[in-house]
Structure formats: structure tokens, C-alpha cells
Amino acid sequence: MTAFLKKEWMEWIRSGRLTVLTLVFVLFGIMNPAIAKLTPWLMETLSDSLADTGLVVSEVTVNAMNSWAQFYKNMPMGLLIFILVCGGCFTAEYDRGTLIPVVTKGLSRRKIVGAKAVALFGAWTTLYFLFYGITYGYNAYFWDNSIAEHVFLGAACTWMFGVWVISFFILFSAVAKNSAQVLFGTGSAAVGAYVLGMFPRLASFLPARLMEGMALLQGINEAADYSVSMAAAGVMSIVCLALAVWCFDRRRL
């Protein structure tokens, strides 16, 4: 598996995938505090034109909470870009037939899925915590992170949501014929969880709850409110990966 993992690493670097995603996540990480910091200036700039329409802009004060709110707004976009950029991670290999020489050398198919999963989860974790770390650092520099509760736990919940989505992505990649099907399947799983989350009885059992990190920071939700969703996301991710291995063992390359 190490050999295939090395190949994945080489592909991530040489294809530019890692560079693009790093730039996106760094940019998003900087954008969160930047937008919060620029909000008073923007409001002041716009105050004259807003006054013409009858809106009076009073003095706007921002703190770390505004930056964290931006963080939770940008996170789904970051995850979406991550999935789109990695969309062909499996299917491009099916199309080109590059897995055939590998499999016919006796490398177990499980090791291929395993290496790809490690690469995806590793990249997601690194990029996500880079995104989090940049926001956290700027917030600490400009304001005070202590006004928010459970900052790390809130971030860990959304990270777990990403892991859950990526597990579905791996499952659909093991089954689907092309990247459009993979993206459709992954998107449907995420939207499905979000829609089901609208039912109050189901909400606390679904991973969609993990996206409500801001409520945790604001003290609206307790840390314990997320434990079931966290466990559900963990169990579903393991099931998805087990199914992906089972399906990949049987798929035609």
C-alpha cells in the first residue's frame, strides 16, 4: 500500500491538485477574518448611498465571532471545491486503464482503495486544519477567540462532516462509471442528509447537524448535542468504506 500511496502523493503534487486546493483553502482561511475586518470600512463606504435609500448605518463593531461565522459559511464551499477537484480520482484511472497494469501485478484491490482513502482523508484533514489554523491565528491576532465557546470542537464537527461526505465520495467512486455519477451520488447523499435534518426527530441523528458549528460557538447548542451525529457520521463512514472495498473488489476495470 505504501508504494501506491507514494504514487498518489506524486500525482497530487504533479497534477497541481494539491497546489490548487492549498491556494483555495489558504485564501478562504484569510478571507474569513479579512471580510470581518473589512466589514466596518465597507459599511462606512456604503453609508452615503445607503442613506439615500433611507437606511442609516450606525457604527459597526466586529469581533472573532464574525470571522468564525464567515468560516462556517465558507466551509461548505471549500468542501465542494475539494470534491470537484478530486472528482476523477478513481474514475480517471478507470477511463485511462492505468489500474490494469497495477492489478495484474498482483496488488490487492483493497490496498488501492485504502491508499486512495488515506490520501483523500489526509489531504482533507491537512487542508481543513490549515483553513482553520489561518482563521484561528488571525482571529487571535485581531480579536479574542475566547469569546467563542468550543472553538476546536465546532471545527472538529465540520471536519467530521467532510470525512462523512468523502466516505460517500469513495463509495460512489468504487461503484460509478464516471465522475458525473460520483458527484451526483455524493451530492445526493449530502442533500438527502440535509433535507432529512429538517425533521426535528431525525436532526440529532444525522451528520447534517455537524454543520451547525456556529450554534456551538454561540452557546446555543451544547457539546453533547453533537455526540450522536458525530457517532452516526463515524459509523456511516466506516460502512461506506467497507462497502467501497466490497464493490471495488467486484468491479470491472
Binding site: 505504501t2 508504494a3 501506491f4 507514494k6 504514487k7 506524486m10 500525482e11 504533479r14 497534477s15 485511462r96 486503464g97 492505468t98 490494469i100 497494469p101 497495477v102 492489478v103 495484474t104 501485478k105 498482483g106 496488488l107 490487492s108 484491490r109 483493497r110 473488489d249 467486484r250 470491472r252 476495470l253
Partner: protein, 298 residues
Amino acid sequence: MEMLTLSHVKKSFGEKEVLKDVTFSVPEHTVFGFVGQNGAGKTTTMKMILGLLPCGGGKITVNGSPVCYGNTPTNQYVGYLPDVPEFYSCMTPMEYLRFCGEITGMRAGEIKSRSEELLRLTGLHGEKRRIKGFSRGMKQRLGIAQALFGHPSLLICDEPTSALDPVGRKELLDILESAKEQTTVLFSTHILSDVEKICDEIAFLHEGRIAIRGSLEEVHKRRKASGTELETERGEDAGRLFKAFPFLKRTGRNILLLEDPERLPGILHFIADKNLRILRIERQETTLEDLFMEVVGK
């Protein structure tokens, strides 16, 4: 010992029965030509040997072990060159061969020496470009290098020469022929001259069955001669011969074909008696192409 055996192998895709009953075996250290028309099922058969397609019936063994679909432990004995080989385009040939060595669990020193040896053999030594800039012929060369990398007991090549120019084809055939000392080669093709050059044994696949199988000599003996051709100097002499011996086939204005060699003395007497002017009398040897055409019924 048989390196590869296929016993009553069947395969269908939906309603279409591609392989009806394929049975043959490949002895160790032979170059085995697997011949058939396009679409006859050669690639399907090879993919089943590699566990890339499930078997619709029958049994396949490699080195005495049964082949199973999906995770295929028998692939540890096999080197495979696909018809259109594709590799990771971001790698250089040296990096790709190192990757091949690592996935087969070879030691670093062995990987380095084997890579250099094979790159030299395939003419890719010193090639520092990444694979994405390679022509199909260069990919074919790298394909043979990666297929031979782990010292496979069975080398399977799917139409390896079809994309190569005459020089590249000759070089590849030489590599396959020399590989016979260390390995067993199964290669599919429809280029019959390649088969005649290097194969010890051949099998013709037609309509889902093995139509002919045996050593090259055995296959040639099936039809000793396809006939005797007679060419006259004048068209009217050919006409007189054709009138006297209606079993002759007229293949040209002055050319006649005799299929039954036992009737030749009678014809020669007639030629001598009538003093016909003959340009040539030539016995036609059966080529694999004739046999192939006979098998496919054309």
C-alpha cells in the same frame, strides 16, 4: 509442466456468446500465439486469465492455481502488456518501473538494476521525459518493460506489435523470443507473419472455439500444399488446358490452379503431347494466412 490451462471456458455478454468452449494449454517456456479475427474474443480470454473479467463457465489455471475474478493471487506469476498500455503520465519511465518494483515487493537495489536492464533492453534508457509526452510506440516499449519487470512465469501480451513501425516490431519480437528462456509467452495477434517468426505453438480462435491448435509444424502439416499453379505463355493454351481438365481453376487469363496434386502427371503429359508453352509450374505452400482464411471460411 503446463503454465496455463483453459478448460471449457465460456463467456457471454448479455445475449452474445463470445466464448462457447475454449480449451487449450500453454507449456512452460514456449511462445504461444493466440490468433483470431478482430472481435473473436482474444482480449476477453486474456482478461479472464488475468481475473479482470469473471468466467462464464469452465476453469482457468495459472501455474497450477485456479484463477479467480477480482482479487487474483495468480497474477503474481503474470506480466501483462495490454493492447493500449496506459501508465501514470506524471511519472518518468524510471519512476514507473520503481513503482512496479515496489508494488511487487522487490528490494531497492534489485529495482534499480532491473529498471536499468529493462530500459536498456527496450531502448528507453536515458529517457528523462514524463510518460505524458510518449508516443504509442514508446508506451508499448515501456509496457513490455513493466510486464517483464517482476520476472513473471507467464507473460501475456495483447496484440503487442499492432502499433509499432517495422523496426519497433522486429525489436519487440526479438525481446519476446529471447524472453522465452526465462518465461512463457502468450501473445494474441492477427498479424500472422509475427506468429510464423517467433511462435512455437499456436491456437486459432474462431466463433468462440479453438478451431486449430498445435505446434507451428503440426498446423502447417494440416494442409501440405494449397495447390500447383500453372502459367502459360499464351492465353489460348490456358484455355485448351482448362477445356481438357475442367477441375482446374482459372485464377487469371494465363493462370490455372490445380488443387489435387495427384492429377499433375496427366496434365504434364498433355502439355508435352500438345507442345503447350509454359512459363512456370509452381507448387504453392500453405501459409498461415491461407489456413486462417480457411478457418474463418473466406
